[in-house]
Symmetry: C2
Subunit: 415 residues, 2 copies
C-alpha cells in the first residue's frame, strides 16, 4: 500500500505537546514491514511490574482477534507490555488471526520477561489479511532494549500507530492524589470512529497513579461515556476499537480503594479532560474534515435521550454536507431531531447556529438574519444547538463535516 | 432557487412507460410559482365520488403540516382530490403551516366540489419557509376544469412533483379481481428516502379496484414493508414522506371484504411489484448515484434481524464509498454486520459480491479471485450478499453508492 502523503487536516492543532515521562512506562517504535514501507509500524510499550490495566472495546459483534485477546487478558489484571501495529488489523482472519495474536504475545512476553497473559495487543489497518506476526521476532526484543521515557519516544509512538490519520494525537495532564502529583499521558489514532479498513480508533492512556483494576475500569468507562462515546465521524464502527488505561503505581501516593473516593476528584477530572482532548483530536482528523462541529442538545426528557438526538444530528449526512457547504440549513437539523425517534415536540423546538437563533417554537425565528448565520457557518468551528423545551436532559457531542475528501479517501481502489 | 439542470442519473430506465387511464382518476398540472420558475410545481388529481384512500407516512417525530392533515383526513376514508406541490415542503412552519394547509384544502374542495376533509395534500421542497398557498387560488379550479386521464397527463404529473429528481418515476400494472381487469398506476418522487430539504419521498398510487379502506390500508402497509421500507439512500428521513393509495372502485368487480380474500392474490402481487418498481426508481435516482446496489442477507436468526443487518450494510458510508470506488472491500461489510448489533457469529460469516464468494467461515475465501470480484464491482448494478449461517431469516434491500455527487448536491449553498 502506498502511503500517499495526505495534507494535514486544517483542524489539526497548531503544535503538539511534549509529553513528560510517566514513571514505569518506556516506549520504542520500529519498522516491522507489516504493510507500509519507509515508516514505523509497530509500537512497543514496556510497563513495570505491578501495572494494572483497564479497557473498553468495540461493541461490534465481529471483533478482531486482538480485541478478543485483550478482553481475555484483562481478567488477569496485570500488564507488562503493549504491542500495537499499524497496516494490518488482524480482523476477520479466523484461526490464522488467533495464531498471529498468540505468536505476538509469545514474542512480546519473551522481550519483556513476563507472562503472555500480561501482554496487550492492538492492530489497525487492512482487514481480512493474515498478519505476518513472525516479523515481530527480534523486533520487539530490540524495542524492549532501547525503550525510553523521553518526549521523543512518546511522539514517535503516536506516529507509529497512525493509518489514514494526518497528524499524531497526544495529550498530557497532571493531577494530585492525596497531595502527590500524578501524571497521565495519552496517545490516540483514528480518523473516524470508524473505518475498519484504515481508520480504527485506538487510544492508550498511561498514568503513574496507583489504582486497583476495578477503580481504573470504572473511571475509564465513565470517562469514555463523556469523551469517545460522544464523537462520531460517519457512524461506522470498527471491529477493532480499543481504549486502554494503564496505571503503573509508581507515583507513591496513599492507597485509594474506591472510584468514588474524594481523593480521586482531581484525577478523574484530569483523566476526563485528557480523554475529551484525544476524542476531539479524532474528530478534528475526521476523513476529509474541514470543519469541527459541536452539537449541543438541551431540554430533552433525559440525558440519554439528549445524547441519542445529538448523535442523530451528528451522524446525519445531510446535516454534515450542509456544514461542509457553509449552509445554515436548520431544516436538516429538524429532520435529524425527528428521525431520532426520541420524544420531541416540533412546536417547541429552538435551534441555534453559534449564537444565532434560527428557529423558535417550531418555525423560523422572525428575527433571524441569514447573514449572521452564514458568518457562523464560515468559521472552521461550528456549534449547532437544539433546545427541545421538554425537560432538563442535555448532551454534547463532536463531529466533523462530510466533504468530497471523505469520498476520495474511502472510495479509492485498494492498492 | 435556480433549477440547475442536473444530468439524468446513469441508472435511469431507458424509457418511461405510457400509463393507461385509471377510471375515475383525472390529472392536471400547473405553474403556481411557489418557488421554481419555468416549470410546473403543482399537481391536481380529481377522484370520482366513492374513492377510498389509504396512506403511510414518515415516522419522523417532527412531521410536516400536510402529513398531519392527511393523517386526520384519512379518518374520513373518502377522497375526492389530491394536491401536491413541489418547491416548498410546508414543514416546520408552525401556525402558518397549518393555515396554509387549511387554505389549500379550501381552494381544492371548491375546485372539486367536495368537502375539505376529502382533500389530500402533500408538499415537497424547502423546509421552514411559509407556503404561499394563496397562489393556488384560481390555479386548482383551472386544473379541475382541464384534468384528463391520458398518458400525457400522467407523465406531466410525475414531472410536476420532482425536486432534485433527475428523471420522472412512473409505473403501471394490471391484475384481475374475480375475472375483472383492474389497473394500478403509480408515480413517485425522491432522490433519497430522505432529504427534508429537497428530496422527500412522495408516492401516489391509483387503482380502479373497488376495495374498502381497511383492505387498502392493509395491502399498502404490507406492500410498503416489502418495497419503500427496503430502500435507503443515506438513512436520513424526511419530515414529509408520504405514500398514498387511492381506489376509485370503477372497475366493477365483485365486492371483496377482506385483505386475505384469495380473489386479491393477483392484485396484491401487482401492487407489490409496482411499489417495488417505484422504490427501486428512487434508489436509482439517489443523489449522486452511479451504482444501484442490492443487499441480500440470509441465514439470520429472523427476517427482522436480517432486515436490520441489511439496512446497516446499505446505510454504511464506508460500504457505499467502497462501491463507488469499485472496491470489493468485504472488510467493510463485516464491519457493517458487526455494528448492526444483531446476532452474528464472525466465524460463520460468508460474503459474496455478485457470484464471487470473497469470504467464508470468518476469513478470506482461499479461492477468491480479486480479478473476478473487481469485474463485479465495475458493473452499474452490484449485489452484496451475506450469509450469517445462524438461521432462516432473510431480507433484501436496495440502495446506491455514495459519491462526490451526493456531497455536491447537498453541500451547495442554498440560493
Amino acid at each position: 500500500m502506498s502511503s500517499k502523503p495526505s495534507p494535514v487536516s486544517p483542524l489539526a492543532p497548531a503544535s503538539y505537546p511534549d509529553l513528560p515521562p510517566v514513571a514505569g512506562v518506556r516506549l520504542a517504535t520500529a519498522q516491522a514491514g507489516i504493510r507500509y514501507s519507509g515508516r514505523t509500524d509497530v509500537l512497543y510499550v514496556g510497563l513495570e511490574a505491578g501495572t494494572q490495566a483497564a479497557g473498553v472495546f468495540t461493541r461490534s459483534k465481529c471483533p478482531s482477534a486482538p480485541v478478543d485477546w485483550c478482553r481475555d487478558a484483562l481478567a488477569g489484571g496485570s500488564a507488562r507490555a503493549l504491542v500495537v501495529n499499524s497496516g494490518n488489523a488482524n480482523a476477520f482472519t479466523g484461526r490464522l488471526g488467533r495464531e498471529a495474536v498468540a505468536l505476538t504475545a509469545r514474542i512480546a512476553a519473551a522481550a519483556a520477561g513476563c507472562a503472555e497473559g500480561e501482554v496487550f495487543i492492538a492492530s489497525t489497518g487492512v482487514i481480512g489479511e493474515p498478519l505476518p506476526a513472525e516479523r515481530f521476532e527480534g523486533v520487539l526484543a530490540d524495542c524492549a532494549g532501547r525503550a525510553s521515557d523521553g518526549s521523543a519516544a512518546w511522539a514517535e509512538a503516536a506516529r507509529a500507530i497512525m493509518t489514514t490519520d494526518t497528524f499524531p494525537k497526544l495529550a498530557t495532564r497532571e493531577a494530585t492524589i492525596g497531595g502527590t502529583t500524578v501524571r497521565i499521558n495519552g496517545i490516540a489514532k483514528g480518523a473516524g470512529m470508524i473505518a475498519p479498513d484504515m481508520a480504527t480508533m485506538l487510544a492508550f492512556v498511561f498514568t503513574d497513579a496507583a489504582l486497583p483494576q476495578a477503580v481504573l475500569q470504572t473511571l475509564l468507562a465513565e470517562g469514555t461515556g463523556r469523551s469517545f462515546n460522544c464523537v462520531t465521524v460517519d457512524g461506522d464502527t470498527s471491529t477493532s476499537d480499543t481504549l486502554m488505561l494503564f496505571a503503573t503505581g509508581r507515583a507513591g501516593h496513599a492507597p485509594v480503594g474506591q472510584a468514588g473516593d474524594p481523593a480521586l476528584a482531581g484525577f478523574k477530572q484530569a483523566l476526563d479532560d485528557l480523554l475529551i482532548e484525544l476524542a476531539q483530536l479524532v474528530a478534528r482528523d475526521g476523513e476529509g474534515a474541514r470543519k469541527f462541529v459541536t452539537v449541543r442538545v438541551e431540554g430533552a426528557e433525559s440525558d440519554a435521550s439528549a445524547h441519542r438526538i445529538a448523535m442523530s444530528i451528528a451522524n446525519s449526512p445531510l446535516v454534515k454536507t450542509a456544514v461542509a457547504g457553509e449552509d445554515a440549513n436548520w431544516g436538516r437539523v429538524v429532520m435529524a431531531v425527528g428521525k431520532a425517534g426520541e420524544p420531541a415536540d416540533r412546536d417547541r423546538l429552538a435551534i441555534w447556529f453559534g449564537d444565532v437563533r434560527v428557529a423558535v417554537e417550531g418555525a423560523r425565528d422572525p428575527a433571524y438574519s441569514e447573514e449572521a448565520a452564514s458568518a457562523v457557518m464560515r468559521e472552521p468551528e461550528v456549534e449547532v444547538r437544539v433546545d427541545l423545551g421538554l425537560g432538563a436532559g442535555r448532551a454534547r457531542v463532536w463531529t466533523c463535516d462530510l466533504t468530497k475528501g471523505y469520498i476520495e479517501i474511502n472510495g479509492d481502489y485498494r492498492s
